[in-house]
């Protein structure tokens, strides 16, 4: 026969008190340990008086809940034999007599610091499981990107190549409409090639290992501004706050700034003279970097979709692009644990804000 397990064998503080006459009827070893009263001292005493219990709601209400539903749980404040405060998570179960009338309440109590440490242990377990899942997800992304890189472009080469071949071999003999269709096929294949390349660039950021170092953001912006201005006759006034630094991955942050500045450059193209500014603000003890332009802006009602890959707020015929730039910016910022957001008005320019919080400790991946 199996060994009998009694309430006394449980490490938790288990006690039983009468329902209508709330005297203690049972007092486990766990209860002796938690409250510091021996069973002898506790049995027959009124539970609430002995332990000076404080409930989150009046006790009669709880008793009514127990009478109707058979159970209650909550956190209560009590005092041990030495007067020390005890905060306990308790679960109550109603026990009934043979006629089915409420007889007593079984209470299992767990000091909340223990409840807390068990919750922490549970979170740790879930975090570890999440880490394994994350590693698996990264591995899958890797495999996915690999097959995209190798396999998806091959059929596009055939589409583009053979339609071009027809055009070159029979070009003059073909009706204009057919020539036009062939050109469309080629353009579509090229465009899909570009989209695949954009997707791969995006996934590369997700897979990159972050190497944080002090980065001279102002210096980077100067460089990138010079690159944009090369060969251009546009009138653009740059306002670059000097001496702005961040602790970040140089390559990735360069990529983010490149896209933000290219955006500002692009969307001010229709201005006769434009101004683009880079700076930093202190907001609630946090450094918020800003890239600001006085270009086409956008409708704030659409701001939610701004960072979605391949989503474009302006038609291609007005401003070129595949809609990957801001998705890249967001991914870079997120890989650094930061946030990016925008504020704008149609026709009145746009401001992009982002943070790159410094890490308390090294070793981010």
């Amino acid at each position: 026969m199996a060994e009998e397990v009694t309430l006394d064998d449980l490490p938790a503080a288990v006690s039983v008190r009468g329902f209508s006459n709330p005297v203690i009827e049972h007092w486990s070893r766990g209860a002796e340990e938690l409250y510091g009263y021996s069973a002898e001292a506790a049995l027959g005493r009124i539970s609430e008086e002995l332990l000076r219990s404080e409930y989150p709601v009046p006790l009669p209400e709880i008793e009514e809940l127990v009478r109707l539903g058979g159970r209650w749980s909550g956190v209560i404040k009590q005092r041990g034999a030495d007067g020390s405060p005890i905060s306990a998570a308790v679960a109550w179960r109603l026990r009934r007599d043979r006629q089915g009338f409420p007889a007593s309440i079984l209470q299992v109590a767990l000091p909340t610091d223990q409840a807390h440490s068990e919750r922490v242990a549970d979170l740790r377990r879930r975090l570890a499981a999440g880490g394994t899942e994350l590693a698996a997800a990264v591995e899958e992304l890797d495999a996915f990107s690999y097959s995209v890189a190798h396999d998806l472009r091959t059929p596009l080469r055939a589409l583009n190549g053979f339609s071009r071949s027809i055009q070159e071999d029979f070009g003059a003999e073909l009706p204009l409409a057919v020539q036009d269709d062939l050109a469309r096929i080629q353009r579509a294949a090229d465009r899909m090639g570009t989209l695949i390349d954009d997707l791969l660039r995006l996934s590369r950021i997700s897979r990159a290992v972050i190497d944080r170092q002090p980065v001279d953001l102002s210096g980077l912006v100067h460089q990138l501004a010079a690159e944009l201005a090369t060969g251009s006759t546009r009138q653009v006034e740059w306002q670059i706050t000097p001496g702005v630094w961040a602790e970040a991955d140089q390559g990735l942050v360069r990529l983010a700034l490149e896209n933000l500045l290219a955006n500002a450059w692009k969307f001010t193209a229709k201005n006769s003279s434009a101004s683009i500014a880079f700076g930093v603000e202190q907001v609630g003890g946090e450094e918020v970097y800003t890239v600001c332009d006085d270009g086409a802006g956008f409708d704030m009602a659409q701001a939610g979709k701004l960072f979605t890959p391949f989503h474009r707020l302006h038609p291609t015929r007005e401003f070129e692009g595949t809609g990957i730039g801001l998705a890249i910016v967001q991914r870079v910022v997120r890989r650094h644990g930061g946030r990016v957001w925008a504020s704008a008005q149609t026709g009145a320019g746009a401001v992009f804000h982002f943070t790159l919080p410094a890490l308390p400790a090294k070793g981010d991946r």
């Binding site: 890189a149 596009l156 080469r157 583009n160 071949s165 090639g193």
Partner: protein, 159 residues
Amino acid sequence: MNEEIVVVLIEDNEDDQELARRALQRAGVRNKLVVLGDGAAALEFFAMAGQSGFAEPQRSYVILLDLKLPRVDGLDVLRALRQSPSTRSMPVVVLTSSDEERDLIESYEGGANSYIRKPVDFAQFSEVVKQLGFYWLALNLPAPAAVNQRQDDAARPPA
């Protein structure tokens, strides 16, 4: 162009084989072209080429190698070519779809002489093939056959 040099294309996709053929034609490359459809066929071909009974043992080769190949993977073909004395000094140009960093790293670590990503646009691809032909078939001087011969002798155990 040095028309003695044989161009060996190791590529499994028939469309890509055909496009490469046309691009070479357009570039005016009249060299002999050998097309091998998988990695194992490539290794067999070069094992034969190393043998003295092979029809053209004195020929020089330029190898255009795709990475993702059936049976034996492109990177394994590359490593095998670099291990065998008779193929060690042959120029290998990786010609593939991917520009993933790990493909580049493994290719160069495996001993590739060059790495080129095939563009989707055929006009660009033709230009790439033209440049390739100009560099490897005209500008670059291949290793003399004696180099491979000597390496073969060195590798052979003394009689």
